[in-house]
């Protein structure tokens, strides 16, 4: 593994338990900056939980215990003096199912900006427009910015949610199976979007789709049964995996 890369997130001995069930066991992982890292693995292997532990979204579920450390730029996000809201502003997340707020398209994107305390209409307009453009949605919604976001198509909603997340300019963008509920064309658009976003953000994506992982990511981590089996550059992983289990999974022998 290439050690020259800068690690944006450094996961050290991370274990997560839901009630009495251990979902992650002593994970050690370094997520490189300005790259796309994909998490693959069979259902229930803990990849979503790992993703959510990066901005402490796991804490919203009851009875979770997290041990170990996740360093964001060298600082442990689980330290008690960390402001969770501020952490989540820096590490944005997009969920599997698009969850636009029942407001207008504009207000959805402006939501995070308003939380930041931005109030001037002109500045908001600019930032909303640029976020929608980055999410490749501007051309489709420019005429109905003030229509309800709930009436957009699934693919548009998902890009809207991404626009909403990148409007506040996070440093890391976590995508939890962002395309699993979408049709192929929308999926393609989201994948193109990730290429563009890579320049500015560190992206971590959870996916069930092997081809997707191979297409978009620079690095891939394979998890199984709550353990990190293998982590390497995507090319290497898909051509010459070092673990037997990885090969079995990639070639579709289980999972």
């Amino acid at each position: 593994m290439n050690m020259e890369i800068v690690a944006k997130l450094d996961v050290q001995d991370l274990s997560v338990k839901f009630a009495d069930k251990t979902v992650l066991q002593r994970i050690n992982l370094r997520i490189p900056e300005h790259k796309i890292t994909a998490f693959i693995g069979p259902s229930g292997c803990g990849k979503s939980s790992l993703l959510r532990s990066f901005n402490r979204m796991n804490e919203l579920l009851e009875d979770t215990t997290t041990t170990g450390r996740v360093l964001l730029d060298g600082k442990n996000v689980y330290q008690p003096d960390v402001e969770v809201a501020e952490l989540r502003r820096r590490v944005g997340i997009v969920f599997q199912k698009p969850n636009p707020f029942p407001h207008s398209v504009y207000e959805n994107v402006a939501f995070g900006l308003r939380l930041q305390g931005i109030k001037q209409e002109r500045k908001l307009d600019e930032l909303v427009e640029s976020a929608l453009k980055k999410a490749a949605l501007w051309n489709e919604v420019r005429d109905r910015l003030h229509a309800s976001a709930v009436n957009l198509s699934g693919g548009q909603q998902q890009r809207l949610v991404i626009a909403r997340a990148i409007a506040i300019e996070p440093e890391v963008l976590l995508l939890d199976e962002p395309a699993s509920a979408l049709d192929p064309i929308s999926t393609l658009k989201i994948e193109e979007l990730m290429y563009d976003l890579k320049q500015h953000y560190t992206i971590v994506i959870v996916t069930h789709n092997m081809q997707q992982a191979a297409r978009v990511s620079d690095f891939t981590a394979f998890l199984n049964m709550g353990q990190l089996i293998e982590f390497d550059e995507t090319n290497k992983m898909f051509t010459d995996p070092s673990q037997r289990a990885t090969e079995d999974y990639i070639t579709g022998r289980f999972g």
């Binding site: 919203l60 009851e62 008690p80 989540r88 029942p102 939380l115 709930v150 909403r164 997340a165 506040i168």
Partner: protein, 594 residues
């Protein structure tokens, strides 16, 4: 084979039987509800029925001398009188000239007039005058068909004078005779065209009219009289008695007396009055539903003012901030409050709360102001506290810190208020209020607001908690993912989304408050007042029913008006609950779409 077939058949038969039973019980509930409404309506319908009257065959009378009231010359009154009227007891008397110049005097006055004036300002001829029963009102009819009603109203020095109360709608020809009803405030008129008209004192328009065909000139008809039960109206000519049966059981109740301000006898102005009974027999019952409706709304309003913020804030806390375990426990505890017998609440409110509030009024008012401010103050100070303190008091125990803080502040406020009371106001705060013209009763709307608010909280809380908890979790999660604090997620996502549900919760609470009886009955003083003064009592529809229905004579106007009140109450609660249910259904659909 045949055995299993038999079993199958029997089972099918049982199924059918049970289905029919369940259907039947469902239908019977609906029927019972319908029957309830129908019964209430059936008791109210007689009030709505118009007055009817039919002529009977005239009787011929032996030639007899009907002595008309002859106006004697009044001692010391220079005018020649043409008309004379004496009240039933003979105490009040009035003589008037045909031009309308009048002299009013009592039996005690030997000469002169208590009041002399012109009954009419325009040129007209007075054709009849008559006292109404109970000697509080006088009627004057004119040749032009005008009809005036005068009331005895005491002036500033306590001397009663006749005062013009209303001009009734004019008839087409001269009013020749006016006959008062016995023991009621109704009267009948006969005009020159031979038309009979039946009136009621508090209502403007005639209740009943009929052309008799007696195109009598002035001398032909001698008198018009009611029988003792007011069911027979007789018109006497020289040798004939023309009789009319009247069906007029409820003259004192109509739309106007129920809902408009009415100028009753003995009042100096029109007013909304609910006063259904009195010690004296010749008493005019006053059935304005306005004070009761206002009382009901007032009590419900103040109860909501107390309960709604409390219940909704509690619901926000449990639904949005508490984990499932404690949430269930607190929910169960608050719902237990709903099972609290309201009679105990009313009892505590009347016996303990009312005197305590009375003696700590200033403290309570100050407390309402200071408490929110003290919370804000604590919030402002909090970030400046040493971080070790903050850490020790996080993770739920900040609630305890807040509680202790609020208790300390409350203690200080009530303690200080006692000194302030004597220091700021020489005779105490209550006396000061009196001087300001704010009347204070011990059992008032404030007490009701708190006591009934307590009873209403669980209902509002249950619904508010539900609608807040049903806000789709992916939305709050989305807000949190964008860097919102939990509080911001509640304010910006949950509350706006659940707002219709919170309104529904308040409507349900409002309906419950309007239907509440025991607390109001025990802790309001039950004075039928038409105002929204926080420090005065009230009388609600519910309490009125509870107090008066056992006393009302079955079938009387009073009895039927109480049924109107019951219907009104049903209507209010029905409206509030239906509106709430509609809002909730729509919200549920909205949640499903998200």
């Amino acid at each position: 084979m045949s055995k299993s077939l038999l079993l199958q058949r029997r089972r099918r038969w049982y199924n059918r039987l049970f289905k029919a039973l369940i259907g039947l019980s469902g239908v019977s509930v609906l029927l019972m509800l319908a029957a309830l409404f129908i019964y209430l309506f059936s008791e109210v319908v007689p009030l709505l029925r118009p007055v009817t009257g039919e002529p009977l065959a005239p009787l011929s009378l032996p030639e007899q001398v009907v002595t008309p009231d002859v106006a004697g010359n009044r001692l010391g009154w220079p005018v020649t009188p043409a008309l004379y009227a004496i009240s039933v007891s003979g105490y009040y008397q009035l003589v008037a000239s045909s031009e309308g110049q009048a002299c009013f005097y009592t039996r005690q006055q030997v000469s002169g007039c208590q009041q002399q004036w012109w009954l009419t300002e325009s040129v007209d001829t007075l054709t009849s005058i008559s006292w109404l029963s109970a000697e509080q009102a006088l009627l004057a009819g004119y040749k032009s068909g005008r009809l005036q009603q005068w009331f005895l109203v005491p002036d500033n020095s306590g001397i009663v004078k006749l005062q013009l109360v209303r001009e009734l709608p004019a008839q087409s020809s001269a009013i020749l005779h006016i006959a008062p009803e016995q023991n009621r405030r109704g009267f009948a008129t006969l005009n020159a065209a031979g038309q009979l008209a039946l009136y009621y004192s508090a209502a403007g328009r005639p209740l009943w009219q009929r052309a008799t065909g007696l195109t009598a000139d002035e001398t032909d008809i001698k008198a018009v009289e009611f029988s003792a039960d007011n069911k027979l109206l007789s018109v006497y000519s020289a040798n004939q008695q023309y009789r009319f049966t009247l069906d007029n059981p409820h003259p004192e109740v109509n739309w106007q007396t129920l809902w408009h301000s009415v100028w009753y006898e003995g009042f100096s102005q029109p007013d909304y009055v609910w006063q259904t009974s009195s010690a004296s027999d010749d008493y005019q019952p006053k059935f304005s539903l306005i004070p009761l409706t206002i009382g009901t709304l007032k009590a419900a309003f103040y109860a909501m003012l107390f309960a709604a913020p409390l219940a909704i804030m509690a619901a926000i806390y449990t639904a949005c901030f508490l984990p499932a375990g404690p949430r269930q426990r607190i929910k169960a505890l608050i719902e237990l409050m709903a099972a609290f017998p309201t009679v105990i609440l009313g009892f505590i409110a009347a016996v303990w709360l009312a005197p305590v509030i009375e003696s700590n009024l200033l403290g309570l008012l100050l407390w309402v102001l200071v408490l929110p401010l003290s919370v804000l103050a604590l919030a402002a100070v909090w970030p400046r506290l040493p971080s070790s303190w903050q850490h020790r008091c996080s993770g739920g125990s900040e609630v305890i810190v807040l509680m202790v803080w609020l208790m300390v502040v409350s203690g200080i406020v009530f303690f200080a208020a006692q000194y302030l009371d004597s220091w700021l106001f020489t005779d105490g705060f209550r006396f000061y209020l009196d001087k300001l013209g704010v009347y204070y009763e011990q059992r008032n709307a404030l007490v009701i607001g708190i006591a009934m608010g307590f009873a209403v909280v669980p209902g509002i809380f249950a619904i508010a908690d539900d609608v807040l908890h049903q806000v789709p979790p992916q939305l709050t999660r989305g807000a949190l993912a964008l860097g919102a604090t939990p509080w911001q997620a509640v304010i910006r996502i949950s509350l706006p989304l659940a707002a219709p549900g919170l309104i529904a919760a308040c409507l349900v609470g409002f309906g419950r408050a309007m239907g509440e009886t025991m607390i109001i009955l025990m802790a309001t003083g039950n004075s039928p007042i038409t105002n929204f003064n926080l420090f005065e009592g009230l009388r609600s529809l519910t309490a009125t029913l509870a107090i008066e229905l056992p006393e009302a004579t079955v079938g009387s106007s009073h009895f039927r008006v109480l049924f109107v009140a019951a219907l009104l109450l049903l209507l209010f609660t029905f409206l509030a609950n239906t509106a709430a249910e509609i809002v909730r259904q729509r919200l549920r659909k909205k949640y499903q779409r998200l």
